[in-house]
Symmetry: C2
Subunit: 248 residues, 2 copies
């Protein structure tokens, strides 16, 4: 098998990635997962910058995360990531986070599409992308693909307003994916933010946000320690993302 | 000389540290400078966590930065940092950022004090801190210490409001130093944020900000491509920081 099929990236948790309990925050860990995937596609020659001349770009549609524990300051983690197959216009990518003892401490599957940046519509996979997607391990070695409907939000128990700032933009001048998740967490009750133990986070990305957009994070309490999250742009009512979180 | 006198830390610029020009943002570079210093004091046994039982803590008072160029995506940089002497209740620390060719691309001097966390007043340096401070190289090998008064702000040409969010807090539950600088930059005119080339940034930290504090960033245009910055907490009028930036 081509040795490029996966990326193994090593990171040591830095002081700016932790909270006052010396534990990495979830957004910090997700940033490192995305970084490992970016390094992989850069090596494979299919990064967003490689795709620019083809007027196509990767768009993250969904990410399902499971967290067994968050790593601590100074801990070395290994993140393994690989494309985990495709189906029609959708492609999948897995992430596995291991601690130094080789224990799996978090994992995630994700769904991606290619966007035609001129037509603003979904694009088919060109040959050189299909080649990369063939690298996927056998389906039984991959994590279950993101699936299932998120419940519909019926009321808002908490909300918090944000404005997209220049430093919140990614290399593509859109609100960085990671802030969707971070802002959803910010709207939670204080007690949960300070002391909650997150077990799972399942986020569906619906639309991009631009510099200076107003964004509202809404939360609804569900039974059994679950929370429903929504990011909406009040100016046009556009739903930017939906998510479900599970807490211990 | 004790080999611990300085820290040499290597970093590769990550995709979440860059703007759409594939260049590290200033806050991203400053984060790495602080990270290198944190790693140094952890090794020396004088980190904020080591100081907790002594009821003292490091507080950054001032940082003067010079930027020749910002590193680009994938570039490996070396950050050298060391304590650069002390005087009465003040201690100094230098940072030098080199590219892979060994060129100095940014440097910074900074002023720190020890805060008595019970009395909320400046603390004298205990013996084990003085030992560490003896490691400083000869003064002629160090960068010039931060000095000079910043001009007084006379009018507000631009301003922008922020709220301290949970993920903006540092390991000490205060607004992370780096966001002072980032929020000051955010209040600049769009043209400067997008296309300006920053040459120097001189920031004086005056007060801590807490979770949920409102913070206003104010900017005044000065002659010769210089900008005056202020962070203020509108609720009590408290000035949190002052800064002067220089642009090409």
């Amino acid at each position: 098998m081509n040795s490029n099929w996966h990326e193994e990236a090593y990171y040591t948790i830095r002081t700016y990635e932790i909270d006052s309990k010396k534990q990495a925050t979830l957004p910090a860990l997700v940033k490192l997962m995305h970084e490992s995937a970016m390094q992989h596609v850069i090596k494979l020659g299919v990064s967003v910058w490689d795709l620019e001349p083809h007027h196509i770009s990767w768009v993250l549609m969904r990410q399902q995360l499971s967290v067994h524990r968050l790593p601590r300051l100074g801990e070395q983690i290994k993140i393994e990531t690989y494309p985990s197959g495709y189906e029609r216009l959708f492609t999948y990518r897995d992430y596995k986070v291991y601690d130094a003892a080789g224990e799996l401490i978090a994992h995630s599957s994700s769904t991606w599409v290619l966007m035609d940046t001129v037509q603003r519509s979904l694009a088919r996979f060109p040959g050189f992308i299909l080649e990369m997607l063939q690298l996927a391990p056998a389906p039984e070695l991959c994590l279950p693909r993101p699936a299932g409907q998120l419940p519909k939000m019926e009321k808002t128990d908490h909300s918090l307003d944000f404005v997209v700032r220049w430093h919140d933009l990614d290399y593509n001048d859109h609100l960085n994916n990671m802030y969707y998740l971070q802002w959803m967490l910010e709207a939670l009750p204080d007690e949960l933010l300070n002391h909650g133990r997150l077990r799972a986070f399942d986020i569906q990305y619906r639309a991009e946000a631009q510099w200076k957009d107003q964004v509202r994070a809404e939360v609804q309490h569900l039974p059994n320690g679950r929370m429903l999250h929504r990011l909406v742009r009040p100016d046009d009512g556009k739903e930017l993302a939906l998510a479900l979180s599970e807490w211990e």
